[in-house]
């Protein structure tokens, strides 16, 4: 007999999981609140798509970090280097495949982009494995040492990027199929931003399925709450952590590749530059919460684009303000994890 045979009849279940929709509702609320301020509907559509695209790329970069924070309480300030290395990995492949991308066909573009993205994920994942094994493993449980050693690692590997790829900024060719914009009504929408939204949604859906529909996901969610109890049930949490760390680094690499193609350039500092926004997203979402990270990233992306248009001088501080407001409302983030 299986568990299904004994599972209670769904009709007899009194209590069910209540999904907290309020944080998710903040996304359309913020977008609609910006509409009268922006004034022009086409401009608002363009800004909203840009904000969502930025949010999705930030989500890809931040989702691994929030799991690492949640699962093993590790403060990894080196996360930015996985973003940079992923971007350089993609840039290396795309630069070599430039002739294919100039052919102008979608198939040719994909034949360049897919290997580029895979290279970004593999390179960043490999570096993540090295970081966990060499730098982070000796400093489990010591936040101060974690901050110092990961910051040091970030600086050293930024310099190593200069050694391998050179100190100059590398211009990144964007495949022709995702270059330019299309017109929707009166709004101009960049093709690349739509692609970023699609990829971001696909990554979120894959992570949601992995976390909610598999045994590994069940272990990760339990480990984020109470790693000691997971060990007491007979599971080796360290092995799980290495897997999550490598996967999170790979996702940061994917985000880095997407971010680099968005900016059409690659620098060693790009990961470091986006790190502050990533930390804001992780804190807003609730440490360890992938769903919170997703909502937080969309809010940050939208806020940055609306304020960048309405009050450019406030753009830098707008996300700090957003974080303050959210933490005043929910001090442990949008979707706080009940850590033991």
């Amino acid at each position: 007999m299986t568990m299904q045979a004994a599972a209670p009849d769904a009709n007899r279940i009194i209590a069910r999981i209540a999904v907290d929709w309020i944080p998710l509702a903040l996304v359309p609320v913020l977008a609609l609140a910006a509409l009268p301020l922006v004034g022009s509907a086409p401009t608002w559509v363009t800004l909203t798509v840009a904000g969502l695209a930025m949010g999705m790329m930030i989500f890809m970069m931040a989702s691994g970090l929030t799991l690492v924070f949640g699962l093993m309480d590790v403060m990894n300030f080196a996360h930015g280097i996985f973003i940079s290395v992923g971007a350089y990995g993609a840039a290396t492949v795309l630069t070599r495949m430039r002739p294919q991308m100039e052919a102008g066909s979608l198939a040719a573009d994909l034949s360049a982009m897919i290997p580029a993205v895979l290279a970004a994920i593999a390179l960043a994942g490999l570096l993540g494995w090295f970081f966990e094994r060499v730098l982070i493993r000796p400093v489990y449980g010591d936040h101060l040492k974690q901050i110092l050693i990961t910051m040091g690692g970030l600086i050293v590997f930024e310099q190593l990027i200069h050694v391998v790829w050179g100190a100059d900024m590398i211009p990144l060719p964007r495949p022709s199929a995702i270059t330019g914009a299309f017109i929707l009504g009166e709004a101009a929408i960049e093709r690349y931003r739509v692609l970023a939204v699609i990829v971001g949604l696909a990554v979120f859906a894959a992570m949601w399925l992995l976390l909610n529909r598999t045994r590994i996901g069940l272990l990760v969610r339990a480990g984020v709450e109470n790693p000691e109890m997971v060990e007491s049930l007979g599971y080796r949490i360290r092995r799980l952590f290495v897997g999550v760390f490598v996967a999170g680094s790979g996702l940061a690499g994917l985000g880095g590749a997407m971010w680099a193609m968005y900016q059409e350039q690659v620098t060693a500092q790009m990961g470091m530059q986006v790190l502050v926004v990533i930390f804001i997203v992780v804190i807003i979402g609730g440490l360890g919460s992938v769903g919170g990270c997703f909502v937080g990233a969309m809010l940050v992306g939208l806020m940055a684009n609306y304020t960048g248009y309405l009050a450019p001088k406030l753009a830098l501080g707008s996300n700090i303000l957003l974080m303050v407001l959210i933490l005043l409302w929910r001090p442990r983030g949008l979707y706080a994890i009940g850590k033991a």
Binding site: M3, P8, I13, I14, R215, L218, E228, M229, L233, R236
Partner: protein, 241 residues
């Protein structure tokens, strides 16, 4: 007394600069329910955590069924068939009741027959099958913590203060559940401060004070000796009634 399933010899445990256990010696007989009693701060929880490998013994030895587990990592101890219910219950609040139980079933999905048995012990687990564990009441959380520990047959259950903060009706439910567990010949070590609960279930008893075992014997003998209770625990059974 039957041959011990678990034995501790001269176990010392340090937590940071604090020396908590000072040469703890006691045995848990196979198939019995042993109560570990003592005042607050006596070292009972440290003792369970040391057995479980959550804190490392700095000296002495812990043997489970003849095998030395003093230096074993927590997952290794669990894989030997030891289940642990901590004082804070350790349930995963963000997971449903169902997910908490599925996670504890290391062999895969829990067996339907076993689940029916658990639902018989704790009907609330069936009622709240798809509810988030964090939304359960204190008593239901304790039931879930114990249900999770027994979702598969275990060789040894370590349970830390199962009645802490529970209403009398829930405690009565717990007593029944432990009686049913005893009928399955499961070896159980329970840390407890509720002497009535301990008396009604315990076969053997060990009493701790200041990180040492100060008494071992049969539970019924301690329950019958008011003077000994007063000396060991500071209270006699009479004052509990």
């Amino acid at each position: 007394m039957p041959e011990p399933l678990l034995s501790l010899r001269g176990v010392n445990t340090h937590i940071a600069q604090y020396h908590i256990l000072h040469g703890v010696d006691f045995e848990v007989p196979r198939g019995s329910l042993t109560m570990l009693l003592g005042r607050n701060g006596a070292g009972k929880t440290t003792c369970l955590r040391t057995i479980m490998g959550l804190w490392r013994a700095s000296a002495g030895s812990i043997r489970m069924d003849g095998r030395d587990i003093t230096r074993a990592a927590t997952p290794e101890v669990a894989q030997l068939g030891v289940a642990y219910v901590p004082e804070n219950m350790g349930i995963f609040a963000g997971l449903t009741v169902q997910e908490n139980l599925r996670l504890a079933a290391r062999a895969g999905e829990p067996e339907a027959k076993r689940l029916e048995w658990i639902f018989g012990l704790f009907p609330a687990m069936k009622t709240f099958w798809n509810a988030l564990a964090g939304n359960l009441s204190g008593g239901q959380k304790q039931m879930l913590a114990i249900a999770r520990a027994i979702v598969e047959p275990r060789r040894l259950l370590l349970v830390d203060e199962p009645t802490k903060g529970l209403a009398p009706a829930i405690i009565a439910n717990m007593v029944e559940a432990f009686r049913e567990l005893k009928r399955t010949d499961t070896t159980i070590l329970v840390v407890e401060q509720n002497f009535n609960f301990a008396r009604s279930l315990g076969d053997a008893v060990a009493v701790m004070d200041s990180g040492r075992i100060v008494h071992t014997g049969r539970m019924d003998a301690l329950a019958a000796d008011g003077a000994l209770q007063t000396r060991l625990l500071g209270l006699s059974l009479d004052s509990h009634q």
